[in-house]
């Protein structure tokens, strides 16, 4: 049976300091009025009261990472040849993500299917993934923008986590879910608490009782696909969109990237940075042609990818974990829940019309 321990709230910081000695620790912290997932700094502390604005994804997919460094030299013999020397820069060292929410942890399994699948293994991603331990904090309640329950998750879901923390008075019951999680719970910061297993389960069940009964977005992939050609619908859906990247960069499941060579003189580095399908440049081709020329095309892609294309490729798992960050941080309050519900309704109406 898995290990169960208790972590007092006041022991969190000392424990994270202990972990910081030989690992990178990422945790949510206050950063100028915003809660940001960043490297743990004892002076900043941790902020667990609310969902962080930025997700935990940077632990596996940093906003900017060096793929390799290069240096070019002109050779004397034979003339006019350029010699390029490449230096690989694989990520190294262990990492702990502390205070991820169930949605954040679930999102990491969505990356796994793409970056650590049977066909493709991204060496940078897999190195980070294998070295990372995810300590997830179950949510005590859902915010008004949360909808994890509608996309296959829940506020206490343990999918993708190595340790699950359940809040109880003055602290957290910590349950190891994997060998990596077991290893972390060996720390002396934890108290023995085998007897709290049932109490934690009861607490989680009480949280689940407050999850409202509402329609699910699962199994809608075919339905949504039927709306692909209805550009008028997407035009209307996207009309207020500013085409910025707040939704995709704050999304715990968006994993698209750009690759750029940044050269200074004879040397440089190839970097991989987050990219954003809401930007017109995302699909701009070298010829000048753009297959997604308007924001309607781009919105169709963002919603289609999360609720239709990805689930069709990956066992009906949605590429949305319902954290609601895209909703609460959108400058024009675009609500993806509303958009998906409207799309489903529109597709149903079109199908009924076809049967008439």
């Amino acid at each position: 049976m898995s290990t169960v321990r208790f972590l007092k709230a006041r022991d969190i910081a000392p424990w994270l300091e202990e972990l910081s000695r030989d690992r990178t620790v990422l945790a949510p912290a206050q950063h100028g009025g915003t809660i940001v997932f960043c490297e743990f700094d004892p002076a900043r502390g941790v902020e667990l009261s609310q969902l962080s604005t930025t997700p935990a994804k940077r632990a596996l997919l940093p906003p900017c990472e060096t793929l390799f460094e290069y240096e070019t030299t002109k050779t004397l013999e034979p003339p006019y040849k350029t010699h390029v020397e490449l230096r690989p820069t694989l990520p190294q060292g262990k990492a702990v993500v502390f205070g991820a929410r169930p949605c954040d942890a679930r999102a990491m399994q969505i990356f796994d299917r793409v970056y650590n699948g049977e066909q493709v293994k991204d060496p940078y991603y897999t190195a980070r993934r294998n070295n990372a331990t995810i300590v997830t904090l179950a949510c005590s309640e859902q915010d008004d923008t949360c909808f994890c329950d509608r996309v296959g998750g829940s506020p206490v879901d343990a999918t993708g986590s190595d340790v699950l923390l359940t809040p109880l008075k003055a602290g957290y019951v910590a349950e190891a879910l994997t060998p990596k999680g077991e290893e972390l719970l060996q720390s002396t910061s934890f108290m023995k608490a085998e007897g709290l297993r049932q109490e934690a389960l009861n607490a989680r069940n009480r949280i689940l009782e407050h999850v409202p009964e509402r329609s699910s977005f699962l199994d809608m992939e075919r339905n949504l696909l039927s709306l692909f050609g209805d550009l008028g619908f997407w035009d209307k859906t996207a009309e207020a969109c500013l085409s910025c990247g707040a939704c995709t960069y704050l999304c715990p499941t968006c994993y698209c990237f750009n690759i750029t060579d940044e050269t200074r003189g004879e040397s440089g580095r190839r970097i991989r940075t987050w990219d954003n399908c809401m930007s017109s440049q995302f699909t701009l081709e070298g010829s000048g042609h753009n297959p997604r020329p308007t924001k309607a095309h781009r919105m169709r892609n963002r919603i289609g990818h999360k609720f239709s294309y990805y689930p069709q490729l990956h066992d009906k798992t949605l590429a949305c974990v319902g954290c609601g960050r895209c909703v609460s941080n959108c400058p024009v309050s675009f609500d993806i829940r509303n958009a998906v519900a409207c799309a489903i309704q529109q597709a149903d109406a079109a199908r009924e019309h076809a049967h008439d």
Binding site: G32, G33, C64, C244, A246, E262, I271, N329
Partner: protein, 320 residues
């Protein structure tokens, strides 16, 4: 619903048959949020709402709708953006119909959150001078004056400077007493080293989503922004505070003397970075050097759009 909103709906309903679309606001996913409403039908019009929680500067959509007959609900500050866009020939006056409303001030939800110590907001009700905020911990009463958008404290006119229709219902002046300390005030008070450290820390959390740029009604380079351009290669794609601050400096310089300080850049920023302060600082210089404020007069030319052999307030010869 307020008398204000009812009258506005009536005005729009009368003009709607002659227009392709009317830009207005409706509530977002909660009454604490607002979202732009594109009215094309009477059913759309039924969703229109207006109050202190309706914050977006709708004029930002006008350049992208050029060529269509567009109506727009406009407060005093928004009208300055429209004037600036007209001055720059980015929109045509005969294509737009302006529905003027007198503003009661726009609420900055971040300031509300700060005012209640970061407690989780449940609801926000606005009264004449106060805001009643219900959080997880209880109900707080906050003076409206403390939680307005920065632009409200330098408001030039509550009613639009130009309009075609005007809602006659007037609301009281929302500004009483001194403006609370702004980000620019705080930055002004810092030594250069502290100011640099402030920006370095703020830019560290910037996610480069460019919401600031895309929400800016005067960022009109569209898809040819230097932020992503490889040639010229003014910015590199590494996510260092230096590169991110460089973009903000370029944005501020490109809008100097054009920016009406509508504050959309800062409002749109999901990371709470006070990027409006840079534009305010540059506009202060423009005011000092050229005695000019953007978006006040449709007939004037922005100072950086023209060349005079001798500027009245720049004494080149004296300096020599």
């Amino acid at each position: 619903m307020s008398q204000h909103t009812l009258e506005l709906r009536k005005l729009i309903a009368e003009a709607l048959p002659g227009l392709d679309v009317v830009l207005a606001w409706t509530s977002g996913f909660s009454p604490m949020t607002s979202t732009p409403l594109f009215i094309a039908t009477d059913e759309d019009l039924d969703r229109l709402d207006f109050g202190p929680m309706h914050v977006q500067n709708l004029a930002a959509y006008l350049p992208s709708l050029k060529g269509r007959k567009v109506g727009i609900v406009t407060r005093g500050c928004d009208s300055r953006t429209i004037i600036e866009l007209l001055q720059e020939n980015l929109i045509n006056r005969d294509e737009i119909t302006i529905f003027g409303i007198s503003c009661t001030g726009a609420i900055n939800i971040r300031k509300v959150r700060e005012a209640v110590g970061g407690e989780k907001l449940r609801s926000v009700e606005t009264g004449k001078d106060i805001v009643s905020v219900t959080t997880d911990e209880g109900t707080h009463t906050v003076p409206l004056h403390n939680v307005l958008m920065d632009k409200c404290y330098s408001c030039q006119s509550q009613t639009p400077l130009i309009h075609d229709h005007m809602v006659t219902e007037r609301t009281g002046c929302h500004l009483t007493g001194e403006a609370p300390e702004s980000s620019l005030d705080r930055l002004d008070a810092m030594e250069p080293a502290a100011r640099f450290a402030f920006w370095e820390e703020s830019m560290d959390r910037c996610i480069r989503c460019y919401a600031c740029r895309n929400a800016c009604p005067l960022c009109v380079c569209k898809d040819s922004c230097v932020a992503q351009s490889r040639d010229p290669h003014w910015l590199d794609q590494s996510d260092t505070p230096r590169e991110k601050l460089m973009f903000q400096a370029i944005h501020a310089l490109h809008t100097a003397g054009r920016c009406t300080e509508c504050g959309e850049c800062e409002r749109a920023c999901p990371m709470g970075i006070p990027v409006l302060a840079m534009k305010q600082a540059l506009n202060r210089r423009i005011k000092h050097l050229f005695d000019y404020q953007a978006g006040m007069d449709e007939e004037s030319t922005p100072p950086l759009f023209m060349f005079r052999q001798q500027e009245e307030h720049i004494k080149e010869r004296d300096a020599r």
